[in-house]
Symmetry: C2
């Protein structure tokens, strides 16, 4: 935060919420309600890998924070604040205005104020590092290793829109400007179901956010919890924008499409009504899509009970 390049202070300074110390000292400070734990997560976003160089800076600012806040949602944690590290090849004030608007706008919307950061020049390309903190009642965090046999499997929101937009933007699918327009928002400005997630501790067992595709991410829960699962393909909530696409493209988008930033969680069957009510009160679509099983492995069944093989995995790490 020193020298001629103090962009955090210039573009991101704003009064810290009461009881907190924000931008400008060696550390940010925040307090907890007693009996709570701090949850923390960090992400690096690299130009050319995680975002296109020509992405709208405002959308990028939103997304850089949203993908991290999504990790708080996946623990059932309420946001406390965030730190931003920003490394830029040149000081482009127009870019910074857009980026800070998107970042601070989502910070306000999600109740996750920016409390500090670090700026530097990078010889090549933009690097964005975001760290978020949240609080969760002691012992109530939704961990990946907490799924139990016979739990229902649930998903918030819809699947596949961000993946489809990415395919169209990268030219890997035949161009379709109308459908790109209908799905691009899901890719560029994800909205994690934060309010809904804060109601899950005490109801859900395991949870995570879908960032690398449902099949792969649910696999993390199964591996950590030592169990298997059966998914009902027909129940999966494909995004309505995908309705007219060939079945194979829909299947790919729904099962292995990443960048979803919605939740996949497990919960005992006795909580079905509470979960539906929580969805209604948070205005979040929530869909029951399968069941945790004792037998290891992930089985995906079609409407006739036949097994579906998920399309070859996409390492979003390499493809974005």
């Amino acid at each position: 935060l020193d020298g001629e390049f103090d962009l955090i202070a210039r573009y991101f300074k704003h009064p810290a919420p009461s009881g907190m110390l924000g931008v400008g000292d060696d550390c940010a400070l925040f307090s907890l309600e007693s009996g709570r734990q701090v949850a923390a997560s960090t992400d690096l976003l690299i130009e050319g890998r995680h975002f296109f160089p020509d992405v709208a800076p405002r959308a990028l600012g939103h997304k850089a924070l949203a993908v991290n806040v999504s990790d708080l949602a996946a623990m059932g944690a309420a946001p406390l604040g965030c730190l931003l590290g920003l490394s830029l090849p040149t000081v482009d004030h127009e870019w910074l205005q857009g980026f800070s608007k998107g970042f601070l706008g989502y910070a306000r919307e999600s109740g996750c104020p920016l409390l500090g950061g670090d700026t530097t020049r990078s010889p090549q390309g933009i690097v964005i590092s975001v760290t978020v903190f949240g609080q969760v009642p002691q012992g109530a965090a939704l961990r990946r290793d907490a799924a139990r046999v016979d739990d229902d499997i649930w998903i918030t929101g819809t699947l596949g829109a961000a993946h489809a937009a990415l395919r169209w933007l990268s030219g890997e699918w035949p161009p379709d400007p109308r459908l790109l327009a209908a799905t691009r928002g899901a890719l560029e400005q994800p909205m994690p179901p934060l309010g809904f997630a804060r109601g899950l501790p005490g109801i859900a067992h395991a949870a995570l956010d879908i960032s690398d595709g449902l099949a792969q991410d649910l696999g993390h829960i199964l591996a950590a919890s030592g169990c298997g699962a059966v998914l009902d393909y027909a129940a999966l909530p494909a995004d309505p924008a995908l309705a007219g696409l060939p079945a194979q493209q829909v299947r790919e988008a729904v099962l292995v499409g990443g960048d979803v930033y919605q939740l996949c969680f497990t919960a005992p069957a006795r909580h079905r009504e509470r979960i539906a009510a929580l969805g209604r009160s948070a205005d979040v679509r929530v869909t029951r899509v399968g069941r945790i099983a004792a037998a290891p492995g992930l089985r995906i069944l079609d409407a006739d009970g036949r097994a579906i093989a998920p399309p070859a995995g996409f390492d979003h790490f390499l493809s974005r």
Copy 2:
């Protein structure tokens, strides 16, 4: 933390301390003693700007964490844990072994366990993002804006060694392999006075760590606290390795040399004995070097009371 590139799990996984959740879930979790605040700080380190491409990876791992832990020391906070983001152009296992050894070694030494992270590929150059958390008694953090008129100004450790090593390594000073060997450790493996710092809340008023040079960093305290200062140049603890250098080089290294990661703090005169005792018990050299004044500005006086102009500032941001 997903995909084929899960280097955090491979090189950095280790059991989390009890009561904490480490690498492998959406967030890290840690708990606080009640009546404490969380302090958090983040830094981005970029290859070619903050470190030489050929720096020993083990030293780099140490330094990447130490410069952040230094920010905790500067708040008087006790480390709770850290997160690591690592972006690499290629997967070089030898480099990763060295880097993780240095990072985890200092994590152990400083009591700042690694609790999570993020790995990705970067098209060019290594990017390291470190975030640290610490705890400090509610309201006791050592802020930059807390200096008071007539406070003593203190410095831990010595000044100038890291700057001199950087000058020799970059060829800006005539080569001196013997002195480079004597100072290189200060540049590459700084040791923030963490134990000493934890004793400062309740004794010191303002504090920060010297990362951009004493003149510039003390200036931050003066600006934030709305006061001035008088420094006694002869009292400044120049590193013994600089003893034989021309006076001008020593002056530059001591007054504007960065990368020190020692503390500059202010405290009322009545605490001189307690501070000296704290230094003895923590085995940290501590030197009284000046006084906070009501008149704004930083005045540096030589042994005869004549004003010294600090050498032209170095923006370490741009020069490293």
